[in-house]
Amino acid sequence: MLFVVGLCSTACEDVVDGINDNPNKITSDDIDPQLFLTGAMLANSVAQAGHLNRIAGMWSGQLVGLASLYSNIYGYSISTAESVSTWSRVYIGTITNVRHVRTQLPSDGLIQGITKVLEAHGVGTLASLCGDVPYSEINQAEIEDPRFDDQVSVFNSLIVLLEDAASDLSSANSRITTFDIYFEGDADKWQEVANTLIARYRMHMGDYSGAYAAAQNGISSPDGSMKYIPRGDAALTEGDKNLFWEILEGSRTGDIGTGNSYLMQLVNDSTDVYRGNAKTDESARAGYYVIDESGGRANLGIIEQFEPHKLVSYEENLLILAEAGARSSGFDTGLGHLNELRAYLNTGDFLNANFIDQAYLYEAYETADFESGGMENIDGIATDRALLREIIEERYVTGFGTFMPFDDARRVRSGDGDIQVPFPTNGGGQYPERLPYSDDELNANANAPSEDPGIFTKTMVNQ
């Protein structure tokens, strides 16, 4: 008996070796790693432009939740369930796949750069929205429960990663690849995005000179903006369209829109808070920005079926230069960059064909406009503050559809309350300071806080 048992222990396993390799599905080893990129970019697109983006919009006076779930969340009733899908899109959809591609193609500079930018973009967004998040221990087979790193260290790690990416990309050759749905393999554009993201994270941390330096090498032209671009057949209502359009055309009709949000009042010339003046006409933008909750097809502007959704934009880079420049290098630098943006706006290129014919005007500002009594300083505050206030308001308006207004609101509120965009709360007098952690993460991760800190708790960088 022992003999047979002994005999088997050496030979048994050989007999069954390899039989368990899956005969039905293709294993990752069989696939060109680049084929994993498109999926990672889709996951990133939906994470950046999806549910949490809309919630951030509602919590910064840009969107109004009108019915069902969005009306609850608009009034700050939110559960940790709302973050589940976005966390999954970032940590599983994006990170797992970009890390797979990166390990498979270690010497491909373009792939190395792209994957690092996508990783930094996803995690950076979660860190800015939620605060401390898992990063240093994520996606390691031997670690079941990655620890939560503090928000500042996450940003710092991501900046290092993005610097790596920029360096990889600077020496990489571009090559046309359809797998890259953002830039079709243009290494230069990816490198600029890497720098704009560094600048964004430095802004979050209040490091304005660092941000200004990084933005110098950031996105340098409108077509360098990283966008999710819809495509496909107009008859199909989901799967490849503008995400906001999809929800209104689909099962969420009537739930969310711009309504009479503070943003809409800012750009509407019939309101008290209209931001237009002799050099500024927001008429076209006011029309373009309207999100009509009654259905996808009712919308021809910013969420039209095929309208791209900006994720990291040329405008953002100019506005970082403007604010960070004003703060770190002085008034003239700031004004110069603000006027660069206004010059771009004045081309009308940011509008789509449905609104290009409507009135708009963005003439360059002069120093006098910000001096006491000037058109941007009627209430007579300090000239520098007046410029900064205008830049922040411009970030608020131009940043519609991105996380910038929500990020700025929290940052500016913590140190520059005097120049913040004065949108009202949606009730209760308190402004939300963060989005909740994912319910799944809280439940499954032994290193997660025992409960979510709540949406009114300031994150580390906004203390």
């Binding site: 005999l7 396993e13 994520i138 990655p146």
Partner: protein
Amino acid sequence: MRQSKFYLLFLSCFLCYGVHAQRTVTGSVIDEDGDQLIGVNIVIQGTAIGTTTDIDGTYSISVPDENAVLEFTYIGYATRSISVGSDNVIDVILALDAEVLQEVVVSALGFKERKDEMGSTFSTVNPDDITRSGEAMLLNSLGAKASNVQISRTNGDPGAGTIIRIRGANTISGSSNPLIILDGVPISNSTIYGGGNDITGGRTGGTSQQSRLNDINPNDIESVQILKGASAAALWGSRAANGVVVITTKDGNAGEPKISFKSTLSFDEVHERYPMQTVYGQGRSGSYGATRPEAWGDYIPDRSGGADVVDQSGEVFIADDGTEYYPIDHRNSKVNYVDSNWDAVFQTGSFWQNDLSISGGTDRATYFFSLGRLDQDGIIRNSDYDRTNIRLNNRFILNDWLSLATKAGYTNSNSNRIQQSSNTAGLLLGLLRTPPDFDISDYKGTYIDGDGEVFPERHRAYRRYLGQNSNPIYNNPLWTIFEQTAESALNRFLVSAELNITPTQWLQFTLRGGVDNYEDKRVYHFPIGSAGDRNPGIFNEDLIGEKQVNFSAIGKANFDLTSAISLTATAGWNINDQQRRVNTAEIEGFLVNSKKQTSDLNTAKENSSVENSKRFIRSNRGFGILDFDLYDQLFVSLSGALEAASSVKGTFFYPAVDAAWQFTRTVVNPTDAFSFGKIRGSWGKVGVQPLAHRFQTLSESGFTYSTYSDPLGISFFGGGFRLDDDRGNPNLEPEIKTEWEVGLDLRFLQDNLSLSMTYYQNKIKGLLFGVELTPSSGFDTEYTNAGSMENTGFELETDYAIIRRGDFDVSLYGNWSTNDNTVTDLKGTETIDLTPGASVSSRAIQGFPLGVLYGTGSQTDANGNFILDENGFPKLTLSPHVLGDPNPDWRAGFGVRASWKSLSLNILFEHSHGADFSPRTQWVLRRFGTTEETTGRLTLSQDLTNFAGDLIPAGTTVRGNIDDFGAGPVLLDETWYRTGIGGGFGDNQAYNFSIADATFTRFKELSISYVLDTPGLLSKTKLSSIILTATGRNLFLWDDLKGVDPEVNQVGVDNGFGLDYFTNPSTRSFLFSLIVNY
């Protein structure tokens, strides 16, 4: 040694001739039935002189003197020794060896062992019990015949699958089927649902599928042994945790050819019918509505009678027989169609099975041949099943050290199944929701719209009574039966061969190989106009093939260690290879409205799809057994199997030990009153293999990402892949069940009363399921060894021959068992849904028995009283919770066997106690208002509030019932049943009211047979006997559930149970059989 024996024989014969005083004794040897025995060994005791009986069963031998003793030995018969004395003619009758007949069991390795020497539980179902039940399906014939072996038919469809569960649940996500060993070789008993079921909701809908064990003809079975405990099964390692069923097919016996012909005719009817209401018409809120889903309409007796007022100016539906249907302006007709609709769907089913077997042989070669044919028409019209079985079993004794046995069976079966369960193209869903005032008979015809446009081949059902829309929403049941097809055609070969080598008396080698190969081709066809997604037409072909190849080499040696201690040592090696291939091809959306089963229905590429899936599993194991026999009363067995399986990382060792002590050999002297006593105990480990092909993290395509109703699909962006978010796990281990049991086997009253008791406990560790991972770890789930579960139980089997008086025998028999199951750990996973898609689901939840029923219910306070709303009605719970436990507290089978002269009788009852069941069909029908429980018509004697909060004044005549939830009487009316929480589907129902106690007693079998073997008849016809049998099966069911058999299962053969949802009904049968033996 063999040679020297021959020399000795030769020498002694030579010597014999030299000695005088020799004389010759002759005679014949027959068995108790008077048949000649050929090849009986006859030896003069103490010498090597011997002979054998010839082909006529006679012998002749020279004996030295009158003191000689002749010893007659024959396999399977008790040896007899007879002193020669002065007789020259000695005729001998040999009796069958009682030990061989009654006390031998077949072990997991296929060897015959003495039951009284076994330390673990063996339940035996004898072949008479199987054939007498008349079940055409082998599995069903095992029901109620062994303790703690639960056999449940999933429904009454011909050939439907059967759940077999031994000692409760042993796995959560694996198969709960026991391992089936046929003639020493594992065979498939899978129930595969395939791509065809996916069209209509997977396991919760679609058609019922077959259990592959039912391919075997019950008439070919010699014995069925059920090895329940871990120690008996441990040699099969990771495939044995659910027990092992060891089946042996018949062999021929030496002698003249025995020809037997058996013919069985069965009549089957629907076992139970839902009580339907006949007085309220289609509609809502008391008004008739011709396209309403419900029967909450007008009170039919209040109608004027006569023909309906119709509008003949526009639309019309012209049925195939020319009957015209026009839009109804006013309903006058008082006719109800409940019975005629039912009768149009159901019929008295029947089957006719004919079996021919021929067996016989010589002392050197025997054969058994059988040919069986079953033709069955189901209780549902147009459902059928036929099966042809051929078997040839041969056994050859090649010489005195070599023998060979080959067994081969072939099965061909064909069937058409009817769509059922949660499926708008299913039978009962359409039938039972149909209001009583709708006649289903004209289900097909031409619709002409108001503009005169003609639409042929339209489907007319109660929600679209003019066929005015291509999609009828729910199928007309006659469309389900006659227009849709779900055919299955199976060919299966089961072949095994065994070579036995016995070089010396104490050593034996067995080489055994077998192949089980089948191909099941299933064709599903939904013509254009079928309800739901199938509306544009679907044609689907599943080709399912499984092949299992098995080989064992076993060596067995006997040693006498001392005069009182002997040892049998067994060592062996086994390799098993299983391959499964499922190919599914589908055409969706027909260009041609045809019932032809061809891909030409639509040749456009985008309308066709092909999928294939393969599964490969291989395992091999080395094993050894040491069986000690100490002083002929203590039997100890140690065994171990070391196994490597393809789906498991590394090798695993499965040890077992058992011991049996016959204490009546020493401590207690056997008496007539207490004739035998044995105490036994065993311990062992067995496993459940992980699912195949789960080592690697795979890649997948075709995925969609969304955060909240905003999907982006990879297929729209040029395609691509992602790593499967279910992480591969290269470290998978088998689920390991460790079990111990102790038992007592006692016999009293000269063995007339036997009693066997067993208590067991097992713990199952490393239960496999998809554990949810931390999202930031990068994956959603991982299939891993994470859970644990426990079972404890008690089993009792008894048989008592009360009367044994020559030609009058009466025996009582019974079994009783309990099994307590608890899921002890799920590693933080809150629940595992075993029946996804059902609003009341069967789940695994930590701290509860496996399979508990789970859903939303009514809020209660600490004392269990309902928390009521302001109208006095219960309030819904916010989240789902455990509603009931579908595991019975105990189960029993009991019966009487009696015979008087040529007449014999068998009665069998089955009881299941304390299980819960969710008859969801009935619950949903409350919303539809078609069942009797919604038919109450009351004139209120007091003001009452309904669920909607309306106060209905005294004196009002209403449709509904009065109930009291704790705050005084309230009115249960349409607002409760249809629009409230007291009937319907979805998550917002008070499902606590949908749980029923499923305690039942089943009169499972009554059979009477008569054996005609009068010498006169037999000599005239040359027949040896004629046996006539009448059997009633599933005759009565005593339970509290109306219209449904609590053993049916919506999800078919699966780990989830206790649910019904428009599942096809079960049957009651009356059988008549005739056996003619030549």
